[in-house]
């Protein structure tokens, strides 16, 4: 027996204390703490690392402050394409399961976790419409692309198009409270 524990991240990049407003910093810290509590609650109740890790990530996907699920960034075509993965030591033959180019699944991490447990299919990485159909068959919540929209990310997207390159962050972004997305 070992002591259960949980670690999380919400994105990495260049960030210094004067870059965020007090409210933004508070929103990040609050979102991280809420994710820890959601995951650790499951760890205590179910003692299952997969369920706990998924619960922690679902909390972050549902929080528009972070770049996953609601609040995800936009492609240069103005769409949201999401991806997620899970990998477990021991206990699951498939070891890992991942999804990419997902556009209508509210919580992509839940789809990856369902694929990990889904014995009828041995593939590790699935992308696009076929895996979205599997999400519907698994009974996962499907959403319209507008669910992922946030004005902040949309403005970042429009500013980026003017600059003509992916993920270039400049002073204007920083003034807008750019924070690491990873």
């Amino acid at each position: 027996m070992v002591e259960p524990r949980l670690v999380i991240h919400g994105g990495a990049g260049e960030l210094t204390p004067n870059q965020l407003t007090k409210e933004q910093e508070k929103a990040y810290r609050h979102g991280l703490r809420a994710s820890l509590e959601a995951g650790y609650q499951v760890l205590k109740e179910k003692d299952d690392a997969l369920l706990a890790a998924v619960a922690a990530v679902v909390s972050l996907e549902n929080n528009e402050v972070f770049n996953a699920g609601k609040g995800a960034v936009f492609t240069n075509a103005g769409t949201n394409e999401l991806e997620a993965s899970v990998m477990a030591s021991g206990q699951y033959d498939k070891k890992a399961a991942a999804v990419s180019l997902v556009k209508h699944v509210k919580n992509p991490i839940k789809l990856a976790a369902e694929l990990l447990k889904y014995e009828q299919d041995t593939h590790v990485l699935l992308a696009g419409e076929a895996v979205e159909k599997m999400a519907e068959e698994f009974g996962l919540e499907m959403v319209d692309q507008s669910y992922f929209f946030t004005q902040k990310r949309w403005d970042e997207h429009r500013r980026g198009l003017k600059k003509g390159a992916a993920n270039t962050i400049d002073d204007e972004d920083k003034e807008e409270g750019y924070a690491p997305k990873g």
């Binding site: 991240h9 509590e37 990998m87 477990a88």
Partner: protein, 150 residues
Amino acid sequence: TVGAVAMDSKGVIVAATSTGGLTNKIPGRIGDTPQAGAGFWAEEIGHRKPLIVRILSGKTEERASVGLSGTGNGDGFIRSNLCHSIVSLVKHKRYSLQRAAEQVIADTPTEAGVIGIDGFTGDAVFSMNCSMNRGYIDNGGAKVALYEGE
């Protein structure tokens, strides 16, 4: 990108990672998050014990799991197969996960951060060459941080 690494009382470790990717990425771009070994990894490892320990204790190896979830410049993670590179140092050179992560991240030219759990030591692992939103919880309580060095 967001991620979590959890360890239950059986010592099973799971890495879970989810992302929207890069602002203004080209549609169809696949990042490190769904690529095993690049943006994530979890594995149960066996370290054979030294001969004298095997003779005295009868135990031939020590088994434990390690797990990682990464965030930063995804294409940098893909090019270096970053998370698997870290775990390989644990597996083949018996580094602690923290030491392995620091060595690989130090050699990474692009923005990179990883979180993890080392089943051999029970330690939570954080290593980054930039800032990273991160947090940790166990029965001693929770702690979150945003900035490098915090």
